[in-house]
Amino acid sequence: MPANRTQGATGNAPSIDLTPSITEFVGARAAFYVGRFKLLLAGQNRWRVNWAALIFGPLWAAARGIWAFFWLFAILELVAWVQVGRGIWGDLGADKLAEAARLQAKSDQLMAEAARGDTNAELLVESAGNLARAAENARAASEAGEASTTTYLLVGLLLLGLFKLMEGLWADRVYERQYTRWRVDKRVPSGFNLYRLAGGCALLLLVFSLTLYRFTVSQPDQRIVSVPVPSTYHTHTANLIEDYLDRTARAGAGLFNSIAGGTEAVLNAIEAVFVETSWPVIVIFFLLAAWRLAGGRVAIFTGAALAYMGILGLWEKSMLTLALVSSAAVFCVLMGIPLGVWCARSSRVYAVVRPVLDMMQTMPAFVYLIPIIAFFGTGKVPGILATIAFSMPPVIRLTALGLAQVPKDVVEAARAFGATQWQLMTGVELPLAAPTIMTGVNQTILMCLSMVVIASLIGARGLGQEVLVALQFVAKGQGILAGLAILCCAMVLDRIVQGRFRRGDGA
């Protein structure tokens, strides 16, 4: 029954005349496209060839402003034309032929020297023979190359025909879709436009001529193969940076030394706690922490992870790694949270800090090592500094985000009851932002761990060093054991920290 009613409502819908709007959209050759579009709209999906599109391809698309069609078929046709060009003009054997001639000349020269009665004539003859054989191989390759030109030509022509056919058959449908988009958005290109056509021609001419030249000529002009600049640009710039870094390092030696000294003191203290405390104490501490903060299952997992490290002899290295990661994380949190609060307070500060954070997160981790080495040399302190620099962005970002997400009305209420800025922040904003901030802390800890192997390149010790050594000596078993130990550290820390804030949320 409902089906009948629907028919009643839509069955006698009056037909609409789209001719004026299609004419306005199409411009030149409107009558043709009105016919074609109407067939498509009527659901007659037979493929019909659009000869203008078939013959002119990308140029037709440029004139009509269908740029996706233009680029797609410009690139496809280019591929086909390059094959055709190589088939017709290509000197495919030329490289090999030249090589053969060079090798032959060398071989002849050696033979001549041997004939002159050199002391090690035997050796000379032998290598002359080798060279002659190589020359022979090159000649054979060259001949094979010559023979394949016909294949290139055939494949090229076949591809070209295929692409042309696709252009011709597809054009109407693509153009009709453009018409539908144009109906709702008049910025979509419409009509037949000579400027667009000229632009398309210029683009095609430039791209096609350069590409065909590059691929078909055997010795193309070097200026189009590589960017024509002197290599001194690179060396000069590199030297400038190097000088600058050296000067900064010398000028700031006091500052850098005190940073390094402070960091080292903290790191040593934490390392002593982890490494010199006897292992049963550490195990008990971790198990209790996991159980109290994150629950029984995490405690069992923690026990298993610690057992793995202990039984496979990775205990001390694991503790070194944990010490490194914990001290890096502590520094990140101590500096990152206040910085995040500052960013949330002042949009101007955030506008400055945000691009820096973006850069810090996008920069490949290895690059951090370069300025660190310049200013701090190598060893475990530079290792931890690189780790800090790499891992700090999430905690800053998520602190700022968490504070920004505190509901405005709650903040207003606190102000209405006379809260000071400090009371507002400690009593309302930070507690409400805590889950987000803890996510940031968690991410920071995991990023610290991911930096462990890289930091060992400049002398940080622990599991990272173990992996690095394994890489150098292709000691696969040792490497995988150490890698799994890093994974264990990461998962234990992650579970404990996350469990902490999930529980803190509820109770």
Binding site: P407, D409, E412, A413, R415, G418, Q423, G427, V428, L432
Partner: protein
């Protein structure tokens, strides 16, 4: 103590970076709202608002969304600074208070209730209520005693140790009210406190608030977009439109004497049964017609229309209205009564 707890004089609020310029232009040239927006890119939030609120009254500000009522109420405790004008609370000009003085006034003299409760989700009900006291540095024992007491005032005994998300919306707003009462302020600011609640709970809270307000004798500024609510609660009502106050009056004034078409439109659907009284619709009794109404029931001139209807359905005769001395002074026919209910067409 001053005579008038809240006094606004010529308060303007213009939003935008060029607010001062726009204010000067409005003063000198009398620009309209749209001209100010076009010339300075500034929006007029509050335009020349003046009123006094008396001790112990519930002063309702009624207006549709965008009329500036929420902006206005935030001037009282200076959550928003006025562009021009004076805001006096308890005899002190709040715009001239220093930061510590302002905080002291907010935490001791002014309590505020918000439309969306704005409770602190990480604190228990008790700690939410105690928050203003905590800000003042009251010791924990005192905070607990007071919060226990105000929670019992709003009928929330036994919910002290719950979290806000564990109780219903109506209860949450009662916590909001308790929080506003905790520091025993002289002035209560209520920003559409019951708007987000469903009608039944809203009605219940309105009654509770009215009773509480009479009991505690607080001076209240009450924002609402619901004229019914304003009439139920308000001692006086101010109607706002486009940042201006269109009319100030008692509920009866507003309903029987709307100042302009805008107010008349609002009042149209308000039931007049409890607001209009016999003397307002009666025909004066001429001495010679007294005989005709011997059979008619006698009703006091201070009876409302609701009561007149109750009496009228018991008798075929018109009603005779008597004054305080019991003397016949007027008559209300059934036709007149019906028209009176309609609003005197």
């Amino acid at each position: 103590m001053s005579d008038i707890p809240i006094k606004l004089e010529g308060v303007w609020k213009i939003f935008g970076t060029r607010a001062e310029e726009a204010m000067a232009a409005v003063r000198s040239e009398g620009l309209s709202k749209n001209e100010v927006l076009a010339r300075f890119g500034a929006v007029i939030g509050i335009a020349d608002v003046s009123f006094d609120v008396h001790w112990g009254e519930i002063f309702c500000i009624m207006g549709l969304s965008g009329s500036g009522k929420s902006t206005l109420i935030r001037h009282i405790n200076r959550l928003i600074e006025p562009t021009a004008g004076r805001v006096e609370v308890l005899g002190r000009d709040v715009t001239r208070l220093s930061e510590p003085e302002l905080r002291a006034m907010r935490s001791q003299k002014i309590g505020m209730v918000f439309q969306h409760m704005a409770l602190l989700p990480h604190r228990s009900v008790r700690d939410n209520v105690a928050y203003p006291l905590e800000i003042r540095g009251a010791p924990k024992g005192r905070r607990w005693e007071i919060s226990q007491h105000v929670l019992s005032l709003v009928g929330l005994d036994g919910f002290e140790d719950r979290f806000p998300d564990e109780i219903s919306g109506g209860m949450q707003q009662r916590v909001g009210l308790a929080r506003a009462l905790a520091s025993d302020p002289d002035v209560l600011l209520m920003d559409e406190p019951f708007s987000a609640l469903d009608p039944l709970i809203r009605r219940q809270l309105q009654d509770q608030f009215k009773a509480l307000s009479e009991q505690l004798h607080k001076t209240t500024l009450f924002i609402t977009h619901d004229l019914d609510e304003a009439i139920r609660l308000g001692t006086r009502i101010a109607i706002m439109k486009d940042g201006r106050i269109v009319q100030i009056g008692t509920p009866v004034d507003i309903v029987t004497n709307p100042a302009d078409d805008y107010v008349r439109d609002f009042v149209r659907n308000i039931s007049r049964l409890k607001l209009v009284f016999a003397h307002a619709i009666m025909e004066p009794l001429t001495s010679d017609s007294a005989e005709k109404f011997a059979q008619s029931p006698r009703v006091s001139q201070d009876s409302d229309l609701d009561h007149l209807v109750d009496v009228a359905i018991t008798t075929p005769h018109p009603l005779v209205i008597t004054n305080a001395e019991g003397k016949d002074i007027g008559v209300v026919s059934k036709d007149r009564l019906l028209r009176g209910i309609q609003g005197g067409k």
